[in-house]
């Protein structure tokens, strides 16, 4: 036996104490506020730009409502993504899971059983696919990137198979009426986003489940040695992401009145971008849902500006890329200034 014993559990944190210090935590709230304030600033500026370009229509009720309805599905997906990223994971399969759930809930067989079964089906498919991810990652020790990359490919493949690549129109009128309708003058889709967001916020910030998510992302070994069942928890976090995709599928199907294997294309990119813009660290352990929501809204506003002004998608994509960098730099700048 060597004089200096081997260590079984590789330590993760080697970061030096001498690294530039984080800003004080006593002002933790304050710091979050500054970050969020700069994000909100970006959002306000974008709205102002939209308004100046189209003063009569941009902030009109109908445009705001349509922007929010477009934001709703991606917003719900981003809530799940925030959980995953805070737990130091990543989920590349969200778009494919949305596609799969949307196809499965709109097959003839499912539609025949009515709206209630359709909804349940979407939720079950999303949750199930998410749990498959989670179990592979937590118990099978597959790296999140790879496990969800596999799901990214196979879930969409399965969706294509189920639908024969055909768009399945929803003929259940109760479904269309309810999900395309309003409650108290506000579209149901927006309500759904609000509810998912509120529940997500409470779970993340006010429950032991949320605390454990932060702990696992911050230092998985420390969490394990504190008695937290890291594997089970990780699996559940991916389950949540999947469930959010199921909910998003319901929303996409309602908006387009159809299920299709091409639904949810690039949702993974948009969701990850929104989460990162929102100030959640890709390395885990830190993040806020409010930031994510603002991130989603920023993208929606950009989209709307471009469609209203009939600009091409190529320009739009370039602008998106620039906005990601600007938003991240801006936050980095505000925290950096407070450091030394």
């Amino acid at each position: 036996m060597s004089d200096v014993g081997e260590k079984a559990s590789p330590a993760e944190e080697t970061e030096r104490e001498a690294a530039p210090a984080q800003p004080m935590a006593a002002s933790g709230r304050f710091r979050v506020d500054i970050r969020l304030a700069s994000l909100l600033g970006v959002l306000v500026v974008l709205c102002a730009v939209g308004y100046f370009l189209k003063p009569d229509s941009f902030l009109s009720e109908s445009n705001v409502s349509s922007m929010l309805r477009l934001a709703a599905a991606i917003g719900v997906v981003s809530v799940g993504m925030t959980f995953v990223i805070i737990a130091a994971g990543i989920d590349l399969s969200v778009g494919s899971m949305v596609a799969l759930a949307s196809v499965w809930m709109t097959t003839y067989a499912t539609q025949e059983m009515g709206m209630f079964v359709m909804v349940l089906c979407a939720l079950a498919v999303g949750l199930g696919a998410g749990l498959v991810n989670g179990v592979l990652i937590a118990y099978g020790r597959v790296v999140p990137f790879i496990a969800t990359l596999a799901m990214y490919a196979s879930a969409r493949g399965l969706a294509e198979r189920l639908s024969n690549r055909e768009t399945q129109t929803v003929s259940v009128t109760s479904y269309n009426e309810f999900f395309r309708g309003d409650i108290l003058g506000i579209p149901v889709l927006i309500w759904m986003l609000a509810v998912v967001f509120a529940i997500g916020w409470v779970v993340l910030n006010r429950t032991t489940f949320g605390r454990r998510t932060f702990a696992i992302g911050g230092n998985a070994e420390a969490a394990r040695l504190a008695g937290i069942n890291v594997k089970l928890h990780t699996a559940l976090v991916y389950g949540i992401a999947g469930l959010c995709c199921g909910i998003a599928a319901i929303m996409v199907v309602a908006r387009t009145t159809s299920g299709s294997s091409t639904n949810g294309m690039f949702y993974e990119l948009d969701a990850i971008a929104a989460v990162v813009i929102g100030g959640t660290l890709l390395s885990g352990g830190r993040g806020t849902l409010i930031g994510t929501l603002i991130g989603v809204l920023i993208f929606t506003v950009v989209n709307s500006i471009f469609t209203q002004n009939n600009l091409q998608t190529d320009v739009q994509n370039i602008a998106k890329g620039v906005i990601i960098i600007v938003a991240v730099l801006l936050q980095y700048g505000t925290t950096r200034n407070r450091k030394t």
């Binding site: 036996m1 932060f214 911050g218």
Partner: protein, 510 residues
């Protein structure tokens, strides 16, 4: 012996009026320091006094807000760690700063690899690394071994070797012995003596006053970011030093302890034939309710490994662990925690702390269900309980909302221990609980451990400091090279006898 690197006795470094503020804290508030060639200059001060911050200013990791630094009587600026190294200041930080995925040799020469035309000279690197490890008394650590696989003490040695590799004129050591056992400390002190004989100056930080007596020449005392004693002789009486550091009298003696009166049948922990290949074998012992059992041994004797295996963080190859009459599932921390076992691990940064999160979140991490109602956290109670516990442990500043990262090393250690003190365990495993904790807070911690035992908690304590093991425990187990050598009541053992056993393995007749 080599040519002296410095003129012996010449003033190498003077720092005066150094001020460094962090948001909300004035970590250094006018500090003076003078270091001469060939001396071991000790820095003393309570946790959070500003010692590590001062040496980070010196090593170029932090820039001071005010104050003057003179090197060899000329104004100098240590604008980055690299600049400091080029001037001749090498630093061993309190927190290990190694890259775990790289080998021992690569870590030692990180950033200044010997090279020809940009190609690293790997052979030379390895040879020099081997030479350095030999000088540190550990020729058995291969230069090619991945650093992440070494124990805490092994990593400490690598970090030491890295400081030595620079041929520096001033070497700073921030609590190098906190994780080391007696023989390692002797090795280190031999190296320090060689260095000073060559004229190298050493700035040495430690909370162990006896070490300062052994190798120190002069002492500077810090308190709340100010110098309260400069260039004192190393043999200044303890009471005077402690008084300077804390502004009060601290008795460092171990609190008196009522004899353990619990019923002999109250066996909380029974370990039977526990074995892990290459780490330890056939370890058996029991701990009763209200009893404190200390495990003494050298680093590498397998003490931490035994604790972690009992806790389920490592899977045993053979043997059983029984807590309160129920066998624990092998390799399951969740089962152990559910059975009321707690472990304060050895490596605070990698194994225990959520550095980016508030102190309170760290303290309650192991007791989340107890601090929630129906799954919802009770934040107000979290803050209140953490604050109470941390005020007792003298956390500075006692603010449960601050991020752990912004606390000094010793204060972070208090957070680790506090986590298991707020959880009501029936069996508490403490691995080096006082690592880096200052004298005053240490006494408080001892008191708390005794209180716990008095309330019926069984405690197993691993510590590299033999006096701590003897002073705190009822019964002491001595381990060497993965085996349990002896078991005896603490009051029948002396420090010399234990040291003798752990080192030579000669079974001392008691």
């Amino acid at each position: 012996m080599k040519e002296p690197v410095n003129e012996p006795g010449e003033v190498l470094l003077t720092m005066s009026g150094i001020v460094k503020t962090f948001p909300g804290v004035r970590a250094l508030d006018g500090v003076d320091l003078e270091v001469r060639a060939g001396e071991v200059h000790c820095l003393l001060g309570q946790n959070g006094a500003g010692k590590s911050t001062l040496i980070k200013v010196l090593s170029g990791a932090h820039q001071p807000d005010e104050g003057e630094i003179r090197w060899l009587d000329r104004p100098a600026r240590f604008s980055s760690p690299d600049a400091a190294l080029r001037i001749g200041v090498a630093t061993m930080y309190q927190e290990l700063d190694l890259v775990e995925g790289l080998s021992v040799a690569e870590n030692i020469f990180l950033g200044h690899e010997p090279h020809t035309l940009g190609f690293a000279r790997r052979g030379l690197m390895r040879a020099r690394a081997r030479e350095l490890m030999r000088r540190l008394g550990h020729p058995e650590i291969p230069p090619g071994r991945e650093v992440g696989l070494l124990s805490a003490a092994g990593q400490q040695l690598v970090s030491m070797a890295r400081a030595l590799a620079h041929d520096a004129r001033l070497i700073i050591m921030d609590e190098p012995t906190a994780a080391l056992a007696a023989d390692e400390v002797d090795n280190l002190f031999r190296v320090v003596a060689d260095l000073t004989a060559e004229g190298v100056a050493v700035v040495y930080i430690s909370h162990r006053l006896e070490e300062i007596r052994r190798i120190g020449h002069r002492v500077t005392v810090l308190k709340d970011g100010r110098t309260v004693g400069t260039n004192l002789a190393a043999d200044t009486p303890t009471s005077e030093l402690v008084n300077l550091m804390s502004g009060r009298q601290v008795e460092t003696v171990f609190p008196h302890r009522e004899a353990n009166t619990t019923d002999v049948t109250d066996e909380v922990l029974a370990v039977e034939g526990l074995t892990r290949a290459g780490e330890f074998s056939d370890v058996s012992f029991t701990v009763r309710a209200g009893e404190i059992v200390g495990i003494a041994g050298l680093v590498g004797a397998g003490r931490s490994e035994v604790l972690e295996t009992v806790f389920g963080a490592r899977r045993a190859d053979a043997g059983t662990v029984t807590v309160n009459g129920r066998r624990l599932r092998n390799g399951s921390v969740t089962a152990a925690v559910a059975a009321g076992v707690g472990l304060a691990p050895e490596e605070r940064k990698s194994q225990a702390l959520l550095l980016d999160q508030a102190v309170a979140s760290n303290v309650i991490l192991a007791s989340l269900p107890a601090f929630s109602r129906g799954g919802f956290s009770d934040l107000a109670r979290e803050y209140r309980v953490s604050r109470e516990m941390l005020e007792r442990l003298d956390l500075r500043p006692p603010d449960p909302r601050r991020e752990v990262r912004t606390f000094s090393g010793g204060n972070q250690q208090k957070v680790v221990v506090a986590r298991w003190l707020v959880r009501e365990c029936t069996l508490l495993l403490l691995d080096e609980p006082t690592r880096g904790v200052d004298v005053g807070a240490r006494a408080e911690l001892y008191g708390l451990i005794h209180e716990l035992a008095a309330s019926g908690v069984a405690v197993v304590l691993v510590s590299s400091e033999v006096p701590e093991v003897l002073g705190l425990s009822d019964r002491v187990l001595v381990m060497r090279e993965g085996r349990l050598l002896t078991e005896a009541p603490a009051n029948e053992l002396t420090e010399a006898a234990v040291l003798d056993m752990v080192m030579e393995g000669s079974e001392v007749v008691l």
